[in-house]
Symmetry: C2
Subunit: 147 residues, 2 copies
Amino acid sequence: MNAKTNPSYLALNTYTKLMRAAESVTNRVGRTMSAAGLTISQFGVLEALHHKGPLCQRDIAAKILKSTGNITLVIDNLEKQALVKRERISEDRRYLTVTLTESGETLIRTVFSDVESAIVTEMDSLTSEEQETLGMLSKKLGLPEGK
Amino acid sequence: MNAKTNPSYLALNTYTKLMRAAESVTNRVGRTMSAAGLTISQFGVLEALHHKGPLCQRDIAAKILKSTGNITLVIDNLEKQALVKRERISEDRRYLTVTLTESGETLIRTVFSDVESAIVTEMDSLTSEEQETLGMLSKKLGLPEGK
DNA sequence: CTCATATAGTTTGATATCAAATGATATGAC
DNA sequence: GTCATATCATTTGATATCAAACTATATGAG
């Protein structure tokens, strides 16, 4: 049985192409973030705060799919740059509420718009119909295991 | 202009779904590797050696799209587990040839086959035709910038 | 041959990431 | 009220990753 007649061939081939696509796009879009001095996670945190308003670290972690231990460090680094601040304003004193500072708000507005443009540029190699199809197929694959 | 009439909406939406799909699949397939005590990069190195035979670090880095500095450490860790060995067999004494040991060869055979199965399982949520379409669209997106 | 330059690999320093352990606080059972 | 348990955050230790500096070796120009 040669490679192309192996019944797994199609699946493996599709997988490889999907991974390459995701990686290429991530790298290119990521440049827009690093040009602004942000890592992808940092951008994710700022973007979450920008769209959802102040959040506790637990919720931020859930939103960007990282561990809470990880978020602690990401927030540390954002705080050093004075882009966010931590406050204990909830009644439950275990919660730290993370808020964008003014400069954080300004930065994320600009960078978010730049990233948006970069994504649109990336997707421009597909027609609208192709984008819809890709979105639909990706969604099927991305569903949690149980389906 | 609300979200859905924004001309960027489709692109952003497609992007998000693509990223989620890639991440979900990577995480699920990655479990097969970590079950064998391998990181994704370590698996990548072993797999490259398995399919291409002995390689120098430079070529391994190129194959799995990581920096050579990075490969040094990955190989260090594989060497500690006695899965690969470094030898200076090229005429050019700058080159280190990395080879699978017998236990490395045995391990990668098993794990590769498990990973293959995991990928096939993942792709099973799509029909063959859908997989072909996804592959084709991914390929368009994954092309280097110049196209 | 000698020197400049290029290349292979290593090391270092920074950030990211997770998992596991820990500390602080809140909550529920009694 | 007190104790057991759960939750939020931090810390620690491991690996991963990149970029930049560095070492050793090779190669080409003269």
